[in-house]
C-alpha cells in the first residue's frame, strides 16, 4: 500500500519553479513594505487600546531547499555488494529511469529499515538472481497475476520489487525534475503534521 497515486495531482515542475520564482519576487517587494510599516513609530497607548489587532509580523522568507539524494552520496550498507549489484540490474530491468532516480540506494535504506519478512523476500530473491542468473526473470514477470504469492523466492521478490521500484522511481525528485508530457511523476499531497 505504499504507493501514492499521483496521477490526479500532477505538479508540472517547471511551471512550479516559475511560480516559486514569481512568488519570491512578490515576497521581497512585500517584505520591504512590511519593514517600512513596522518601522513607523506607534504610540504605546494606542497599542494598549487595540489589543485585538496583532502587531505586523515581518514575513518569513521562503527558502528553497534540496533533498539529500541530490546533494550527497548515500552509504549503502544493508545488502552485500553482490546483492546490491543484482538490485541495480533488477531496478534497471523493471522501471526505466530508476537508476537515475537513485532507487537501488533508496531501497537499500528502505528495505534495511523494513520488517524481517520483507528483508528476507529481497535477500532471497537477489541471492537467487546471483546464483542462477536473470534468465528465469522474464517468464516470472510475464505470468498472469493471481492473488496467491508465487511459491519460489525469485517470483515473490520480483512481484514485490515491481511495485516498489516503480513507486520509488516515480516519487523521486529526480524523476519529477525530468518529467515531461506523457510521463507522470513527482506528485504531491496534503501532508498531515503530528496532531497538536
Amino acid at each position: 500500500m505504499g504507493f501514492i497515486s499521483i496521477e490526479n495531482r500532477e505538479i508540472e515542475s517547471s511551471s512550479a519553479a516559475a511560480l516559486i520564482e514569481r512568488s519570491m519576487m512578490l515576497v521581497m517587494k512585500r517584505r520591504n513594505f512590511v519593514r517600512a510599516l513596522v518601522a513607523a513609530p506607534v504610540a504605546p497607548r494606542l497599542l494598549a487600546q487595540q489589543p485585538a489587532v496583532a502587531p505586523a509580523q515581518p514575513e518569513a522568507p521562503k527558502l528553497e531547499t534540496a533533498v539529500a539524494d541530490e546533494a550527497a552520496e548515500p552509504r549503502p550498507h544493508f545488502f552485500t555488494a553482490e546483492q546490491f549489484g543484482a538490485l541495480r540490474k533488477v531496478c534497471d530491468l523493471l522501471t526505466p529511469g530508476s537508476l537515475d532516480a537513485g532507487v537501488p540506494e533508496f531501497l537499500d535504506f528502505y528495505i534495511g529499515a523494513s520488517s524481517a519478512d520483507r528483508q528476507h523476500i529481497y535477500k532471497a530473491g537477489l541471492d537467487a538472481l546471483n546464483a542462477h542468473g536473470f534468465a528465469g526473470a522474464d517468464a516470472l514477470l510475464r505470468a498472469p497475476w493471481t492473488y496467491e504469492e508465487p511459491a519460489d523466492p525469485l517470483g515473490r521478490f520480483l512481484r514485490v520489487a515491481k511495485v516498489d521500484v516503480r513507486a520509488a522511481t516515480m516519487n523521486s525528485k529526480q524523476f519529477s525534475a525530468t518529467a515531461t508530457t506523457g510521463r507522470r511523476g513527482g506528485g504531491g499531497g496534503l501532508y498531515w503534521y503530528p496532531l497538536d
Binding site: 511495485v163 516519487n171 504531491g188
Partner: protein, 524 residues
Amino acid sequence: MPTKDYDVLIIGSGASGGMAAYALTKLGVKCLMLDAGPLVDFNRQRGPKPVYELPYRGLGEPGKLPHVVQANEFNANQWVDEKEVPYTHDPKTPFNWVRVRMIGGKSLFWARMSFRLSDYEFKGAEHDGYGENWPISYSDLAPFYDRVEPIFRVAGRKEGLKQLPDGVFLEDDSPWSESMNAFIAAAKKRDIPVTKMRRATGQGQFASSFNLLLPDAIETGNLAIVPNAVVRDITVDKNTGLVNGANFLDRHSKREMHAKARVVVVGASCLESTRILLNSKIANSSGALGHYLHDQTYITQGVQAIVPAAKDGKAPRGLMGGGGYVPRFVNLKKGNEEDFIRGYAFDFSTGGTPDPKYIPAYGAELEKALASYRGAGVSVTIMGEVLPRKENFVAIDKSVVDAWGIPALHIQCKYSDNEFKMAKHAMNTFDELCRSAGFEVLAKHDQMFPPGYSIHELGTCRMGSDPKTSVLNKWNQSHDIKNLFVVDGSSFVTGGYQNPTMTILSLSLRASEYLAEQMRTGNV
C-alpha cells in the same frame, strides 16, 4: 456556557455523539461533550508537500500503523497510533482496528456512502432463521432517516427497491456513460438492479458532525465541548445504582478529572464505547457486552477489467466515466437461496487506470501498456454482510494499557464459511457481468481484508427485547441502568451489506429524542 452541572454527559463527538448533542441541545437539555482528541485547525494541521520530500518517498514508514491499510505517508498522523492506544489479537486472526481521535471523529473522513437498512436486516431472522431480529422494524426508523438525510444532503436516485429503501434525496438525474449502460444492460438480463451511488454531499469539504451537527448544538447555548479528554470509565452512584458521570484524563498532561451529569450517553465509536463499559464493569448482566462483533467484508479491485473501445486514448466522448451501486440481489426470495445466507453489494466505477500489478509486463513494455489502458478501466469493491456471531468478541486485556494507563481491548474475530462462499459468488458474478457487457477481464480475486478494514465495526453492545441476551433496549438504553444510553454502531444487531453511518445517525437521533422526553416526564 461552561458550568459543573449538566443534564447529559456525551462521550464522543463523531456521528453518533454529534447527533445526540444536536438533538438534545435543541430540546433544551444541557450537555457536556468529552472527546479524546483535539479540535483540529485543518489549515494549520495539513499542508501541501511534494511526495519526494517525504522521508520514505511515499512508500510509508516501515512498521507504522501496520493495521491501517488506509494509511499512507501523507496522512499517517491523522489516524490513532496503535503504539499509543494498543489492542491485542491472536496473530493468526488479525483485526484491523482503524481509529480517529479528533472533534468530529471518523465522520471527518468517511466515504459518505449513505444507505438505509431494510426489513431484510431489521427482521433478518424472520427471513432466513439466522440470529436475532432487531427490536425495531424499518417503519420505526424511517421517520428518522427522513430527517437525517437532508442534514447530510444525501444525493441519490429513487428506485423503489425493497432491499434498499429510498431516502429523502437530492435527486441524482445525471446520465449514465455508455460503458455504464452496457453494464446495466448485462445486469438487467439477470434481474440485478444498478443504481447511482447514494452519497452525503455535506457542505464545503466536510459532511461531518464537525460542520453539520456541532455548530447548531453550540448555537443553542446548551453544549460545552472539552477536547483532549480521554475517558477512563463511567462512574456509578453506589446508593442508586445509576451512572453519574465519567473519569477522564487530559490527553497532554494526563491530569485526572471527573465530569458529573444526570445521564450518560456513550458514542465513542463501536469498540471504544464497549471498552469504556467493560472497564467500568457496568451494563453487562446479560453477558452479551463485547459479543456479536461484526462488520462488512471488503474486497477491493475484486475484478479489474478494461473497456476495449477505450484503449489507447480512443474512447469517444461519453463512453467512460461514472460508477454505480448494485445493492443486495441474492437470497431475497424464499425457495431461491444460494449456498450462503444474506447478501452483498458492488460499488464499481469506470474510467480509471488498472494498477500496474495486474499487468503481466515490466519495464518500458509495462509503461506502454499502462498508457494504453489509461482511463479504460472498470473496477469493483465488493462489500458483504458478516453474520453476527457470539464467538466474535472483544474483552479487556489486563496485561496491556494505553498511554493513559487505561486497559486495552483484546479482539477475537474471524470470518466464517458464509462470508467466504459469498465472496466467491460475488467475484464470479461481477466477472460474468463484465464479460457479458463486452469488457476484457484482466484479473479477479475473492480475498477479503481482515475484519475491521471496512471501518464499519458493529455490535458488541447490541439492542434486543430480551435483557438476558442483549445490552440495550429498543431505545438504545441500557437494560440494567436506565440513565445510560449507547448510541453508536455498537448497538447494531445485524449490519447488512450497507454502510452504516445513516443508520447510526438515525438511531442516535431517535434515542436522544426519547431520552429528552423521558427526562421531561421525570422517568430518567
